[in-house]
Structure formats: C-alpha cells, structure tokens
C-alpha cells in the first residue's frame, strides 16, 4: 500500500482559550491536488503550521509521506515545501542568493540547474540578481513559491499563494503548479478564490472553527448543491406575484430562483407571461463551489 502524502489524526491545538483545531483527521494521497478551504480563523494556517513544524500540536499526530513531523522532523521537512501566507524576505539578499541559501538549508549546495529552471518557470530570470527589496509584491510572492520548491519536495503546501497577485501571475503560477502536479507532486492549497480550488483540486476539505465540516471529491461537493440557479431580468421592478415567495431580489429588476431541475423553468416563464412582463435577460447555472461553500458554512 502506498503511504499517504499527508496524514493527520486527532489533531488538537489551543491558543489560550481559542480552540484552533478540534480533533482534525484527514489523509491526502500521493499525487492529489487538494484544497483546504474555510473562512478566516477556521484553522487552515494552524494546520499548515503544524505540518510544517512551526507549531506543535497539543494532541494528535501529523505525518508527511509517513514521517512524523515531530519525531522524524528532518525527513518530514525534507519532503515538504511550504509557501507561507506572509510576504517575508531577507533584505540583504538577491533573488538568486535567496534560492541558493534556501537550498543550502536543505543540504543542497550544488543546485544551480534546478534553481535556474524554477527561476525560468516562475518568470524570475530577469530578476535573479536583483535585491529582494527591489521586487514588487507579486515578484516577491513568486520568490516565496520558488523557495518552497528549491529542494524538489514531493509534497507542496501553498497557503493562499495568489493573495494580492495579478491575473497574469495567477495564471502562470497555476500553470506551473499544475505541471508539478502532473509530474507527481502532491499539492495542498488554501485559497479564498474558490473558483481556483474548483478548477484545480480533485478533493476539498472545508474547515470551520477548527473542525472539518466537509471532506469530499470536488465533483461530489458540486453535485451536493442540488438546485439550479435561475436569474431573470425583467422590464419592470415588480416580481410576478406567483413567484414572490420564492424569488430573491438580486438588483434593480433582477431576481433569482432555485430550481430542482430544468423542467421547472417552464412554470416560471408562464408566471412571467401571466404577469404581462417581458424578460430582458435570463441565465441558468449549476451551483458553483462558492454556493456550496456558503451552504455548508451556513448549515454547520
């Protein structure tokens, strides 16, 4: 049996009166693209910090590729790359020095070929000899990603890597991360951009107040949303009387309805016709991850 890329069992962590993690257990298989979602304060960063050895759990166990992050920390850390959320850098170093030094911390002192490759892949080759202070926020974020990859870890955790990053970088970053995943790296991602998680991740765990409230394949979670969303813009402000009880006002002359299936569209159109209104715009869509996320967070 292949060992899990990441495995946590019964993880608990308190910060004073705050119970940041409550009995969290989950496993991520090797090669998975996995998302860890939750509102601010849900415990995502605490969980990542425990996996990275930056925080010690009060109870429970965390393993990276079968190696306990406490007892066998050297091996566990060698197998893990973490892109931290905070934009930190060493102001004394250039980009290349930053990567060479980070590589050396892992005992890799002749790593130039790989460093050149990640510089190129992340579009940093022009900035290789620039001081870290001279870089824009987006460029600094790229260096953080490069630092996490410098020792070629099989498991990579990205803690909100696209926060405050422009669209171009976001796209090139995901292209690169997807390639790493195709090459066999396990990717664990936290993000507030749920459409990123929906399009990239095979499985998703949702955390709320330190507990896992949903853990499933992305496709299953999307199916669990059930209802279709119908949005209509009319030529008038009033919602037809027959629909008023179910309609949600979305804006001026715009309202939305939840439908069990596409067959329920016709009675809605009939109600509009009966009210003598004219439809100016109409759209029907399946629930996205954001809808599911809101539903789960409200329900739990």
């Amino acid at each position: 049996m292949t060992v899990a890329a990441l495995s946590v069992r019964g993880l608990n962590k308190r910060f004073g009166s705050l119970h940041a993690l409550k009995d969290v257990s989950l496993e991520v298989a090797q090669g998975e693209f996995f998302a860890l979602l939750g509102p601010n304060g849900a415990g995502k960063t605490t969980l990542i910090s425990i996996l990275a050895g930056l925080t010690r759990a009060d109870a429970g166990e965390a393993r990276i590729m079968g190696h306990c992050v406490q007892r066998d920390y050297r091996q566990a850390r060698r197998l893990l790359g973490v892109v931290p959320q905070e934009l930190a850098f060493d102001p004394f170093l250039t980009v290349r020095e930053t990567l060479q030094i980070q590589s050396g911390y892992f005992g890799l002192r002749h790593n130039h070929v790989w460093i050149d490759e990640i510089l190129e892949q992340l579009g940093l080759q022009d900035k290789a000899n620039s001081n870290m202070r001279a870089l824009s926020g987006g460029m600094k974020r790229r260096v953080l990603v490069a630092q996490a990859l410098v020792h070629k870890p099989p498991v990579i955790i990205l803690d909100e890597p696209t926060a405050g990053v422009d669209v171009e970088l976001r796209q090139s970053l995901w292209q690169f991360i997807r390639q790493l995943n195709r090459d066999g790296h396990t990717i664990i991602l936290t993000t507030h951009y749920l459409e990123e998680a929906e399009s990239l991740c095979e499985r998703i765990a949702m955390l709320k107040l330190g507990q896992i409230v949903a853990l499933d394949r992305t496709s299953n979670l999307l199916r669990s949303g059930g209802e279709l969303h119908l949005e209509i813009r009319l030529d008038r402000a009033e919602v037809p009387v027959a629909l008023q009880a179910r309609a949600r006002i979305l804006g001026e002359r715009r309202f939305g309805l939840h439908l069990a299936s596409a067959a329920d569209i016709e009675p809605v159109l009939a109600a509009v016709r009966e009210a003598g209104a004219r439809i100016e715009d109409i759209s029907l869509r399946h629930p996205d991850l954001e809808d599911i996320f809101v539903q789960i967070m409200e329900r739990t």
Binding site: A52, L80, F92, I101, G104, Y105, F106, L108, R109, Q147
Partner: protein, 251 residues
C-alpha cells in the same frame, strides 16, 4: 547533508553586507575611547608597574568591542528575522536546534573577533604591540565571543520588539561591559564595588584577556577561565533548552 554551513554563511554574509556599520564603525568608536581616555588619564593613572595606561587600555577596549559586537550580531539578526518574518525560512528546513545554535554562535564569534582584531590593529598606532601569552588571549577572545554571542541568541529569541532588545542591551550588556575593568583595575575600586565586580563574568573575560597581553592580571587567569567557562556552559544550556523547546520560535 546539513544546513549548518549555509546558515553560518548567511549569518556572515548578513553582517558583511553592511561591513561599514558592523565592523568599521565599532572600530572607530573604540579608537575614540582610546584617544580620549589616554589623553585625559595617561599622566595620572598607572595600573600595573611598567605598563603605560594606554597599553593597559588596549586589551580592555579590544575585548569590550569584541563582546558588544558578538552580542549585537546574533541578537540583531534574530530580532530582525522575527520582526520581518523571514525567520520562517530557517524554521522550515531540517535544521536541528543544535545546528541553529552553532551557526548563530559561530557568526557572532566571527564578527566579535573580527572587530576585536580591527581594534587591536588600530591601537598599534598608539601603543607598541604586547602579547606575552597570546594563547590565553585567544582562548578568552573565543570564550568571550561565545558567551556574549549566546546571550545575544537568548535576547534575540526572548525579545518581541526592538525596544525589548534595546533594554537588554542598555541595562544588561552595557553595564556588564563598562563596569568590568576595561578602563581601570578593580583593585582601585571601593570595597563594595570591588565585591560587586567579582560577580561580573565580563570582568573575568577582560582580566583573563589582559593577562595574555601583559602576563599580569587582577585575578588568576585559571580562575577567570573557570568562571567564564562555567558561565558559557550554563548560558549555552539555557539557550539550547529554549531552542529545543521552540521557545518563542515555534508555537
């Protein structure tokens, strides 16, 4: 392969990148002390027979600069890393707490000895070179750098902001180094301050270091070695325990 050599290299690179501030400036400060004190007191004070006051000052100033810079190196490196958040890059890799200690310690000793050597070379313009027992001086230089470097690691880990580190520096390090016989022999002090000075480990470092220069000291160099060595071992034990437990570094 270990991350220790790289962490040490980074520590050396860090202070060398700002060499004017970290190496040249303290040498100039020590030269000013020598200039002023020797001008004001040279004709009034003679501590050891046959040794001019300027010559007497040299080992004290060398050691004081060495100690202050050893402390400054590890403490400022750690507090800056903690405040800017880049300490995470050292905490994520598989670097053991002992390697961590050793790298910051060696970085501090290196800078301390470098500044001390620079001060000594500078003093050659004012006093003839005198090193009757160089090995004793070397031992106390390394031990002093190690002791204050370790204290710097402890202060850097303990402090959460620059204010706290400044308080540590102003209320502990400065009095310890200034009231340790850099500018005088403790035998010239009133009995109360003489007794107080004997509880100051920095006094033993300077006195032992000075023995290496003149073959004369206030107390036996063996006693100085024992006291300074014991303090170094005790502080190292405290520091290693803090690192092993992740005190203020890992939650």
């Amino acid at each position: 392969m270990s991350g220790f050599p790289t962490l040490l290299y980074k520590e050396l690179l860090r202070f060398w990148r700002v060499w004017f501030q970290t190496v040249v400036a303290p040498i100039i400060t020590a030269m000013l002390y020598l200039l002023i004190f020797s001008h004001a007191l040279a004709n009034h004070v003679q501590v050891y027979p046959g040794i001019s006051y300027v010559s007497f000052l040299v080992p004290g100033l060398v050691m004081m600069s060495l100690l202050q810079n050893a402390f400054a190196n590890s403490s400022s490196s750690l507090i800056q890393s903690k405040i800017t958040g880049n300490i995470v890059f050292v905490l994520l890799p598989p670097i053991s707490w002992f390697e961590f200690y050793l790298a910051y310690l060696c970085g501090s000793v290196f800078r301390g000895v470098m500044v001390g050597a620079g001060v000594w070379l500078g003093t050659l313009a004012f006093a003839p070179p005198q090193l009757s027992h160089p090995l004793w001086s070397l031992v106390f230089a390394l031990l002093g750098g190690g002791l204050l470097g370790t204290l710097g690691i402890i202060a850097g880990i303990w402090s959460e902001k620059f204010d706290q580190l400044a308080a540590f520096q102003n209320f502990i390090i400065m009095p310890l180094t200034f009231l340790s016989g850099v500018f005088y022999s403790i035998h010239s002090l009133p009995s109360f301050w003489f007794a107080v000075s004997r509880f100051n480990p920095v006094f033993y470092l300077i006195d032992g270091f000075r023995y290496g220069f003149f073959g004369a000291s206030d107390v036996s160099p063996i006693l100085s070695l024992l006291v300074a060595g014991t303090c170094f071992v005790a502080l190292s034990a405290v520091c290693l325990l803090m690192l092993q437990r992740g005190y203020k570094l890992r939650h």
